[in-house]
Amino acid sequence: MKVMAQMSMVMNLDKCIGCHTCSVTCKQAWTNRAGTEYVWFNNVETRPGLGYPRTYQDQERWQGGWELSKRGRLKLRAGGRWSKLARIFSNPKMPSIDDYYEPWTYEYDMLLSAPQGEHTPVARPKSLISGEDMKIEWSANWDDDLGGSTATMQDDPVLKHMSEHVAEELEQTFMFYLPRICEHCLNPACVASCPSGAMYKRVEDGIVLVDQDQCRGWRMCVTGCPYKKVYFNHKTGKAEKCTLCYPRIEVGLPTVCSETCVGRLRYLGLVLYDADRVTEAAAVQDEHDLLEAQRSVFLDPNDPEVIAGARAEGIPDDWIDAAQASPIWALIQRYRVALPLHPEYRTLPMVWYIPPLSPVVDVVGSSGNDGEDPRTLFAAISQLRIPLEYLAGLFTAGDTAPVERVLRRLAAMRSYMRDINLGNEPDERTAAAVGMTGGEVQEMYRLLAIAKYQDRYVIPTAHQEIARELEEMSCSLDFEGGPGMGGAGPFGSSSGTPVPVAVENFHALKSRQTADRPSSPGRVNLLNWDGKGDPDGLFPPREGPSSAPGPERGTGSGDTSSDGPR
């Protein structure tokens, strides 16, 4: 037994309202740069739908993840080491920019600088890839809220695995949102695909990262990841991916997507697992056994043997405490309501989901029945095959039994707590019907519905007896305009030592905010003006010979008519 700790996430899909706040704040924090315009480390997909990039779940086409060889051994679906090297000059299975979407901006400047004319000026969309005018035809959430789904929905790879009549009815019956980040898998196919060895899983917390100094841009990781959550920065020529906001996690803060989540649906915490059994669990024969196999890899943090093993591996005691208090452990193993996304890819993903009960409740409610009555709900769960089959396609490789068990638990919690809210005696039979006690149901209710900040995020700080936090202060190259400060390296913007992300974003934002008119400099964005002084462009240039800034500016600036030296 080799005990390792994994920082992982659970998302409670019932609470997701599809507001995309997580996506937007993540983008602002991480991919707000040239070369990553099309990149969303966090995206929210409407299901059923095509996803981002389009049809990424169709592994027949994209060849992501692992599969079993004829002899029952794990192999990369896109080919092993030799075949990777043979195809290194042109990766045949990499999505192109059209499969994501062509990023664009609008010609806002035109609104301000167009000459007076008969027609109102318009801001036309301009491609951020080619700089040309473009027609916007797709984006990262084009089919949001099933928009346009009548035209595209039949291409949803999950739907394709379901029976035909199901697809027809679906539009009327249900819809839900699926927020996605990198899965930080226990058996990451992207890491295995990297020819340069630049991708790695961190020993301490299991976060999967790309070493930007070692990445050589071979692009095999993009193919390897079945979730298509490794992206190619076309400006720097390097792979980039969700970092689980490791600079925040290391100091005990939740990720940006979690922190800003409006529905408070994300949970962060540690899971202890047995690293020696990862390959074995990923290689079980039947896809339907993968869920249980992965669960069996997780170790009970309260088991004295596990604690001793963790200490032997050098896991600090406060991390063991955090693992015991982990909401992830509770949701996955104690209440067993969380399920992994596409376990059939055999990567043992570590961002799990609580499937939504709301589609079922909605149907029951709209049919005039009591959406909180346990018997009605239980019956509806097993009768509404469509949501069940679809959720099973996402979370359990098509096996509806585990999804049904989860939904029944959620339904039981609803009914049980309704009685308490109404002041009735809670019905213990409801809890017992799903194999829980009333006390457990109430605990689960606290974690899922009350969901206090400190219960949702149990993040131990990193043990680093080194001055790492000071890294961004201590480089001698970081003088204003120096190579560390957003300037270009010797070979243009893609060269030089990597700039700390905080510094890079600060400068990108600063230059963008202060340069709202790229083609005609000299205007000030008042939203960013701190009220001190009068920067160039705050006032229109003076007419006549005194237009050169004089030393008196600011004292007698109201007097625009005086045009001689005083």
Partner: protein, 249 residues
């Protein structure tokens, strides 16, 4: 006069370009690992790349192999194992021609792609364009040499292994023999000059990705684990910021 030129061209010049090549590569690796990449443009366009890139690169591997055999292995060695000059010449010319054909076709496809695909052209730096000129010149002059002095020649072709190869080896053991190069046909001379310039340019272009051929991938375990300590930063700690808990040295 001729001999001064000879020494300049066939001793000083190759050593200078080799020095730039070596020091430049070291410097780039030391200071610009982040810029060390293939700078792939596959994201923008993949159909032409699918055809052109493997054609060019695999052809190039064949050509490089041919150069190594032709320049490094002395004629006496191949004769010692019973390969006559005529046999060697036949194989070399044909293998070389196949390689050259693939390289030229691949390069033409890639350059066409670069010119006509908007985003790819936008992503092309000035350094890329300069590099393409020297790369194209080296390849064109090499092809010209082969066609004129090997394929079109009646007398079995020009035996560069009597002149160019010994000269090349003489540079390596620091006993340069520029006089060997005096009578070499013009296309070969131009090819060598262009290639030397390309090597001088090499460290400062995307060509550095050739040194990153990921051979170790074949031998490493699939999953890579790294400790936070090891992966801590690309940056050395500045003086005075040494981690605590270690004895002062």
């Amino acid at each position: 006069m001729t001999s001064t030129w000879n020494v300049l061209l066939w001793v000083a010049f190759p050593y200078a370009t080799a020095a730039i090549f070596a020091v430049g590569t070291w410097w780039r690796y030391r200071y610009d690992k982040f810029g060390w990449t293939t700078r792939s443009s596959q994201l923008y366009e993949r159909r032409l790349l699918r055809l052109g890139s493997p054609l060019f690169h695999l052809g190039l591997l064949l050509v490089v192999l041919g150069h190594v055999v032709g320049l490094v292995i002395p004629e006496s060695w191949t004769e010692a194992v019973g390969v006559s000059e005529a046999q060697y010449h036949f194989v070399a010319t044909w293998m070389g021609s196949v390689g050259a054909l693939a390289v030229v076709a691949g390069l033409l496809i890639l350059v066409y792609r670069r010119r006509t695909t908007g985003p790819v052209l936008l992503a092309t730096t000035r350094m890329d364009k300069t590099m393409y000129v020297f790369l194209g010149a080296s390849i064109a002059l090499g092809a010209w040499s082969t066609i004129q002095t090997q394929m079109l020649a009646d007398d079995g072709g020009y035996d560069y292994r009597q002149t160019i190869s010994p000269w090349f080896r003489s540079l390596w053991y620091f006993q340069p023999q520029p006089e060997l190069m005096a009578g070499v046909p013009l296309p070969f001379q131009l090819h060598i000059v262009a290639a030397s310039l390309l090597f001088a340019l090499w460290p400062f272009t995307r060509l550095v990705h050739a040194f990153s051929a990921p051979v170790p991938y074949l031998f490493r375990p699939y999953l890579v684990y790294r400790s936070r300590d090891a992966a801590i930063s690309s940056r050395q700690n500045a003086r005075g910021w040494d981690p605590t808990g270690r004895p002062d040295v």
